[in-house]
């Protein structure tokens, strides 16, 4: 197994069985990401991109296939040490922080779980690293703005020093100006700490900005792998990718016409 591979996914399948039958959320996903790389998954709703992320995070018991992190196979039941390697930042800043815990408690919890030393210093450092100061320590999530909550979520993900950070549409719920700040922060943190990112987004520009390589998903399968440069230059092969690009740039439909009054 290649030691440079941070994450390797082999034939990942997820089938949900319901009373009336079954539904395949993922139909055999193959993916390989090197250490320090930033990889994007794009697709529309229902494509399964978030399911891939959740399976890597160990949140999908129905997952079949192989997920290897650092050349080590990960099941759905994981040890604390295994959990430490992969952390996740969710889309909804309103739902991913416990409404009754202070910021300090939210950041202390992972430290306590993994028995790190000097918790108070680590918490302060984590907050500073995401651009928040100590005055935020004892506030509740409902007292913070969306961007501030997302920063806390990022601080929480990084405080136990994972190798891989999973980002599930981390800026979709944020205003454009806040999105810019968070994207800059994510890029900076990755550079400083040599993190590996797996980013899921429906926004092609965000993926192209943050990632070097990406995969396009549709109906639970990957239809194309490409680099962000190729995406930018329109050098795509699969017709679905082309369709996504067209819809994104809005060139297919919206033409300004004068209204006949």
């Amino acid at each position: 197994m290649d030691p440079r591979r941070a994450l390797a996914i082999d034939n990942l399948r997820v089938r949900y069985t319901t009373a009336d039958g079954y539904w395949d959320a993922l139909r055999g996903i193959d993916l390989a990401i090197d250490r320090g790389e930033s990889f994007g998954l794009v697709g529309e709703s229902g494509s399964g991109k978030s399911t891939v992320l959740k399976a890597v995070a160990g949140l999908v018991p129905e997952a079949r296939g192989t997920i290897q992190i650092d050349s080590r196979k990960m099941g759905t039941r994981r040890t604390k040490g295994e959990r430490r390697k992969v952390q996740i930042v969710f889309q909804d800043p309103y739902g991913s922080l416990h409404p009754r815990h202070t910021v300090e408690r939210i950041l202390r919890e992972p430290i306590k779980i993994h028995g790190f030393d000097e918790p108070s210093a680590r918490i302060r450092d984590a907050l500073l690293a995401v651009g928040l100061d100590a005055s935020y320590l004892f506030r509740f999530p409902h007292q913070l703005s969306g961007g501030q909550r997302q920063r806390v979520a990022i601080a929480r993900a990084l405080i136990i020093e994972p190798q891989i950070v999973l980002l599930d549409e981390p800026t979709s719920a944020l205003d454009v100006s806040i999105q810019a700040e968070i994207l800059n922060l994510l890029m900076q943190l990755r550079r400083e700490r040599g993190l590996t990112y797996l980013l899921v987004s429906h926004d092609l520009a965000v993926v192209a900005h943050l990632c070097d390589r990406l995969a396009v998903m549709r109906h639970g399968a990957i239809v194309e792998y490409l680099t962000s440069d190729a995406l930018r230059s329109g050098n795509v092969e699969h017709p679905y990718t082309r369709q996504l690009l067209a819809a994104y740039s809005g060139s297919s439909v919206t033409r300004r016409r004068e209204i006949e009054a």
């Binding site: 810019a180 016409r257 209204i259």
Partner: protein, 280 residues
């Protein structure tokens, strides 16, 4: 455009909410006019853009103070309107589509029944006639197999279909003005494009006015004729959509620059500085 009475004429519109911590002005002295054109209002959260829409429809909470030098719809004064008067304007003359059709549609009625209700109660059609008109309306908004879809409930249809149903039920009343408040924000790009094309087509064919509210500057720039940029309750810039790239106000320029772009590569995205004082 000239010679026609503007559909909306707003001058010095101010909306103040009564909150637990005192009065808060979400809209501060906003002035604009809207004719039979596509006008976009762009702003981030807290800019007041949705509040402007609510003020134009009388959908604000009871203790809210709305004041303006002028606030008219097609010449009719909208200030201090009675509830009954609002009911004749809302729906019949001004239509509204909001972000999530799941919240706008009645979850326990089929979508067809809800559209048919409009025909029966507002236009006086009988049950059978209303159903026929419903099927036609659903087909007109581009829904395939309208007879099958009409029997489905809101949670059984996708977001794109839901928005088309909203448009169908709203068009049944043939309003003069359509307000779309983040109508495509929750939809995938391809579906959003289709819904926008539909709105575009109807607006042009029927000569309706369109007020499109969105946080997406790019979308509004591509789709509308004119754009208003709002921040903290005020309009900071008003310009033709085709001149958007040459915007002059620093905030508009900052918003344009803050988006990651597909056509060029940037290392660090410029961010909007939070200024307490706003230039007049």
């Amino acid at each position: 455009m000239t010679g026609h009475r503007p559909l909306i004429d707003a001058q010095a519109l101010t909306v103040t909410f009564a909150t637990a911590s005192g009065p808060v002005s979400a809209v501060r002295s906003v002035s604009f006019a809207l004719g039979r054109e596509r006008l976009g209002i762009v702003g981030e959260s807290g800019s007041g853009k949705s509040t402007v829409c609510r003020a134009l429809l009388g959908l604000l909470p009871p203790k809210t103070r709305v004041s303006a030098d002028v606030l008219t719809f097609d010449g009719q004064n909208l200030l201090g309107l009675s509830r009954n008067s609002w009911r004749t304007i809302r729906g019949a003359r001004i239509g509204l589509i909001m972000q999530d059709p799941k919240y706008s549609l009645n979850p326990i009625m089929s979508v067809g029944a809800q559209v048919a209700e409009v025909y029966r109660f507002h236009k006086g059609y009988g049950r059978a006639a209303a159903w026929t008109m419903t099927i036609d309306a659903l087909a007109a908004v581009g829904i395939h197999e309208p007879e099958r879809v009409a029997k489905l409930h809101p949670h059984q249809v996708s977001g794109g279909i839901g928005q088309r149903v909203m448009i169908a039920s709203m068009l049944a009343l043939d309003p003069d003005l359509l307000i779309a408040d983040e109508a495509t924000s929750a939809l995938d790009a391809t579906i959003a494009a289709q819904v926008l094309a539909l709105i575009d087509d109807l607006v042009v064919r029927r000569g309706m006015g369109l007020l499109l509210v969105s946080h997406d500057l790019g979308l509004v720039g591509r789709f509308c004729d004119r754009v208003l940029v709002m921040r903290d309750g005020q309009i900071v810039e008003m310009l033709e959509a085709r001149s958007l790239e040459h915007a002059r106000h620093s905030y508009t320029k900052a918003l344009l620059a803050a988006r990651p772009r597909l056509d060029r590569r940037v290392d660090i995205l410029p961010t909007v500085r939070r200024d307490a004082a706003l230039p007049q």
